[in-house]
Symmetry: C2
Subunit: 163 residues, 2 copies
């Protein structure tokens, strides 16, 4: 067995990460679409938040967090700026944020990914870890949306279909 | 606005990916522990698989998939090798797989991450995408486990606590 040193091996490029993330966002968009209007805002399991609230959380993180990283702004996290009343409003905002995410993500340098940033004035981690957290948090909540859909008797979209 | 080219920017090292994954695996282990013995094997929502079955899936992917990648083996995916009857058996196997994952992951070269491999003779993607899929799939199913726990009236572990 040959074990090579791992410390300097690169795993993937920033373009590949952005592509993965936007693929996840496409799938999450399909999950939002899969909910009937009423259940999107009202249905949940075990006293958790309905999927509309989870979608608002995801919308309030991705774009605003990247903007904060690029502009060095440590303004606190807030969901107050967006109070959608319809599925259409959520989907429209979702698509707008796709462009916001591309815009800011592409301005982050290779060095910056390894630098620590106090995201939202609260989460002090290397930038790459903050970005992985955004993606993981989305996959986590979307998995919960899959359970809501199954509990409603609705077949969720295939997990592996991203584009 | 300055937009720099993204194609050649590196996002993170392989050591950082392995560390993130093992952090996720620690959290998933805590979720397994949080279930009462009976509910781990029997409880679910919306006709889905109980969390013991989801844990067996995760155990059947990580280590065996990395072994396949390193050894160039395209044997089909199977959950047949592991049929646990207790939580303790699952946790013991989980910990064994921690070492298996470290062992094989560290043998994958930087170039190999970008090469295509027909995982389990079925999933033909670049190796880095296959590995991201293992992690995403774990976060996805663990999110479902969080709903099961909430439906059982059990507080899940904090999502951000990994080590």
């Amino acid at each position: 067995m040959t074990t090579t040193a791992t410390a300097t091996k690169q795993f993937m490029t920033s373009e590949q990460v952005l592509n993965e993330w936007q693929g996840h966002r496409n799938l999450t968009r399909r999950v939002i679409e899969s909910f009937p209007e009423k259940e999107l805002f009202e249905f949940s399991v075990g006293g958790m938040r309905p999927f509309a609230k989870l979608a608002v959380e995801l919308i309030s993180i991705g774009g605003p967090a990247l903007k904060g990283i690029v502009e060095g702004n440590v303004e606190a996290y807030s969901e107050e700026a967006f109070n959608p009343k319809t599925k259409e409003e959520i989907l429209k905002k979702w698509d707008e944020e796709t462009e916001v995410i591309n815009h800011y993500f592409n301005q982050i340098s290779e060095e910056r990914f390894q630098e620590t940033f106090n995201l939202f004035g609260q989460y002090e981690f290397p930038v790459y870890q903050n970005i992985l957290y955004f993606i993981d948090n989305e996959v986590h909540h979307r998995g919960q949306g899959y359970v809501y859909l199954r509990a409603l008797g609705i077949e969720p979209p295939f997990f592996w279909e991203r584009f």
